[in-house]
């Protein structure tokens, strides 16, 4: 069953598909620029030494995103 959640809910090693972005302004644009649009597959590949931000594999590149920004990224998992 498809479940909606935020990007924070996936742990290192897990994958999900982007459903929508709730971020606004610059952050929204930046996320779009790195190719984070609907149906993009995202994999969490790790967390930093401090526990936050986390690193995500997005379209072949690894991007670190802070947890409060991840809260605005809605994903779907199976």
């Amino acid at each position: 069953m498809r479940q909606l959640n935020t990007l924070n809910s996936i742990k290192p090693g897990e994958r999900a598909v982007v459903e929508s972005l709730n971020s606004t302004g610059t952050m929204r644009r930046r996320l779009l620029d790195i190719g984070l649009i609907k149906n993009t597959e995202v994999e969490c590949v790790g967390r930093s030494a401090g526990g936050d931000p986390s690193a995500y594999l997005i379209r072949g590149a690894v991007i670190a995103i802070r947890s409060e920004d991840c809260n605005n990224i809605i994903i779907a998992t199976n």
Binding site: R59, V62, A64
Partner: protein, 713 residues
């Protein structure tokens, strides 16, 4: 880090780009690309210049240009900042877009990373929308091969309808393919028009309404389809530029105004507002990029990046991330101290032997004492000291640091340190600017441009000086080795001094955190902004190249700068130390005047004066102290032991030594750095503050330390 003759100090601040063609027939080529795809390497390979390269995004922060000649044509290559898109959301993107759009380049080369080509194509597609002469240059083919990513360049070229060249920028031979393509670009006629991104029908019809009118007025100055889309998008920054480029009246033209209104109405009728429009535009581009790559880029290995992930697991894990960072720092210091010790005394021995011969020569020709004093004891001796003390540690520290940089470790430092920085309402990229500060604070301050939020950028600018630059390292290392290591040397004492130095750097870092926090609670209030940071794949550093480049580019350059300041300073100081007014020299009058205050800080007047006279360059602080002391004494050769004796004779204790190190870590930035701060912040207020904050903290720390030390002695 960005430490070459063009990126340090005064030249670090670009003042707008003026392209200088060497001859009228020169063609202008813009080098665009995502951050960290090796654009600077391509640029250097083509032009033979030394734009600094490194494995982290955002290294090139301003346009640079150089020249490149082929058999058929000569080119002006312009290295524009790396960006993910040309939608001008940040200052760099604006610079990039403006150049491609209004700089009228004859060709645009978009450098792409073969290991994530699809995302890079977003930028390619946007460039194609603006400029008809785009060449796609797929770099890092070797890396892609290693990761078993197969790329069908021909297929991609056919789909995009623009030339696609595969290269390995580190190898010069493969760059020839790029220049050949550049040459043939101008010969081709009747070229197929490149692939246009297809937008949803509603947008397409709005575009065609506007384009019909717009194309009547702009001719072939700009791509009318692209311009129409941007006008519909109401891209403010572009509209300002268009007013500059096409004249104020272009957008006030009633026909265009009407067409725009019609187009906008079409959009709003189909329920597309500004945000929706933006999203549809981006999605169309991303989907087009996906289509172009489908079947043309094959990942033969499911886990092609497993090695990177394994390394990341060690370098950024909760358990080992921070300890490894500290250990690496300490290890680099240890290697520097151990490695520098022997060559340092060797060079000193040689240079002071030369000094003796110079003295002999002056006596032989019966030169007057004052001439010998000024030239040999003033100018030459300070120069010799600066060279022998600075050269060895720099020749070791810089290559080591460059290796880390080349391998891709620095973004991981920013990644690990983001959380503590966020606690101070700042951002992890500040860690990158601090790393640059290790090389040169002025370069670090220019590097602060990688931070998007103006508030966070100012925080990084104001605190950069708490990282000691290479001008202060030798001072710290020299005092450390003199006062806190036994004369015997040995493994234990060198480890001890490396740890000591690490502790001092840590103090600087902690102060950075504290001041950042304080500023963001007072003068620069605000919440941390959002942040994305790319963690590039690790790359095997090119050992030989790193060593050669960091020695020739950085070490000798920095040394040259130090020497050019040290030589005249040596002269002036010798004069001040030897011209007497009343019963003492000018220098000792000044020192005496400052002495009471300096004593409060656990220093003496001479040390304080040395710091003041060291304003143009921190490298000369220690030489000034030595010279001032020696004006009274008569030591000709200076090895560590005799130098320590000289200091002790002048009343130094370990408390003085520590206070001098503390004040070296925390006092006003050098003149070049301040000048750069003024340029970058655009305000005297922040410049003055950038000088006052570290000075006050330094003075207070010294006073406090002296007070505490007295309690225990």
């Amino acid at each position: 880090m960005g430490l070459t003759s063009s990126s340090t100090g005064i030249k670090a601040v670009d003042s707008g780009l003026i392209i200088k063609k060497q001859s009228e027939s020169d063609k202008v080529v813009a080098l665009a690309g995502n951050p960290n795809v090796g654009k600077s390497t391509v640029f250097n390979g083509l032009t033979g210049m030394n734009q600094h390269t490194g494995n982290w995004p955002g290294k090139t922060v301003s346009n640079a240009h150089g020249y490149c000649k082929t058999k058929k044509q000569s080119y002006v290559m312009v290295d524009i900042p790396g960006t993910y898109s040309l939608m001008a959301h940040s200052a760099e993107e604006e610079v990039a877009r403006n150049f491609i759009c209004f700089g009228e380049p004859d060709a645009v080369v978009v450098v792409c990373d073969a290991t994530c080509l699809e995302r890079n194509l977003n930028l390619v597609l946007q460039a194609i929308e603006i400029s008809p002469n785009v060449i796609v240059c797929v770099n890092l083919l070797d890396e892609a091969k290693r990761k078993q990513i197969h790329i069908d360049l021909e297929k991609i070229s056919k789909r995009l309808c623009v030339p696609v060249v595969g290269i390995v920028a580190r190898s010069k031979r493969s760059l020839k393919r790029l220049t050949d393509t550049l040459d043939s670009l101008s010969e081709q006629k009747d070229r197929v028009s490149p692939l246009a991104v297809k937008y949803p029908d509603e947008i397409e019809s709005a575009i065609s309404v506007v384009e019909k009118t717009v194309s009547k007025y702009i001719g072939d100055k700009l791509n009318s389809r692209w311009l129409s889309l941007k006008l519909l998008d109401r891209d403010e920054s572009l509209i300002t530029e268009i007013n500059k480029y096409l004249g104020d009246d272009f957008l006030k033209n009633p026909e265009i105004e009407k067409a725009l209104a019609d187009g906008e109405k079409l959009l709003s009728d189909s329920g597309i507002d500004k945000q929706k429009l933006e999203e549809l535009i981006v999605s169309s581009i991303v989907t087009t990029a996906e289509e172009v790559c489908r079947g043309a880029v094959l990942y033969k290995k499911e886990k092609y990046d497993s090695v990177d992930r394994k390394i990341d697991k060690v370098l950024t894990s909760k358990l080992t991330g921070y300890p490894i960072m500290l250990l690496l720092l300490a290890f680099i210091f240890w290697l520097t101290i151990v490695g520098a010790n022997y060559p340092s005394s060797l060079i000193a021995g040689g240079l002071f032997w030369v000094q003796d011969r110079l003295s002999d020569f002056f006596h032989y020709i019966n030169a007057p004492d004052w001439l010998h004093g000024i030239l040999v004891l003033g100018l030459y001796r300070v120069l010799a000291w600066v060279v022998s003390v600075m050269l060895p540690p720099m020749a070791i520290f810089f290559p080591l640091f460059t290796l880390l940089e080349d391998a891709g470790y620095l973004p991981r430092v920013a990644y690990n340190l983001d959380k503590p920085f966020k606690r101070c309402n700042a951002c992890g990229k500040q860690a990158l600017t601090m790393c640059m500060g290790f090389g040169c604070n002025a370069a670090g301050i220019v590097g602060c441009r990688i931070i998007d939020s103006p508030r966070e950028r100012l925080l990084a600018i104001l605190t950069n000086n708490f990282v000691p630059c290479n001008g202060r390292f030798p001072t710290l290392i020299a005092i450390l080795t003199m006062f806190f290591i036994g004369a015997s040397g040995g493994l234990f004492s060198s480890l001890q001094s490396a740890l000591f130095l690490t502790a001092i750097i840590l103090l600087g870092i902690l102060t950075t955190f504290a001041v950042t926090k304080l500023l963001s609670k007072t003068l620069l209030k605000g919440v941390p902004s959002s942040f994305t940071l790319e963690l590039p794949p690790y790359r095997k550093p090119q050992l030989g190249k790193v060593i050669v480049r960091s020695i020739f580019d950085r070490t000798l350059f920095v040394l040259g700068r130090a020497a050019s300041v040290a030589a005249p300073a040596g002269l002036i100081i010798w004069l001040a130390a030897n011209i007497t007014v009343g019963d003492a020299s000018i220098l000792s009058h000044c020192a005496e005047f400052l002495d009471p205050f300096a004593k409060l800080m656990g220093l003496d007047g001479v040390i304080l004066i040395a710091f003041i006279l060291g304003f143009p360059a921190n490298e000369i602080v220690l030489p000034i102290i030595i010279m001032a002391y020696m004006a009274q004494g008569s030591i000709l050769e200076l090895d560590n032991f005799q130098m320590k004796q000289l200091f002790i004779d002048n009343g130094w204790t370990w408390v003085t030594a520590i206070n001098t190190m503390l004040f070296s870590l925390m006092h006003w930035p050098c003149s070049t750095t301040l000048w750069t701060i003024k340029k970058e912040s655009g305000s005297w207020k922040w410049t003055v503050l950038a000088a006052i904050i570290p000075t006050v903290i330094g003075i207070l720390t010294c006073i406090l330390f002296t007070f505490i030390a007295k309690l225990f002695l």
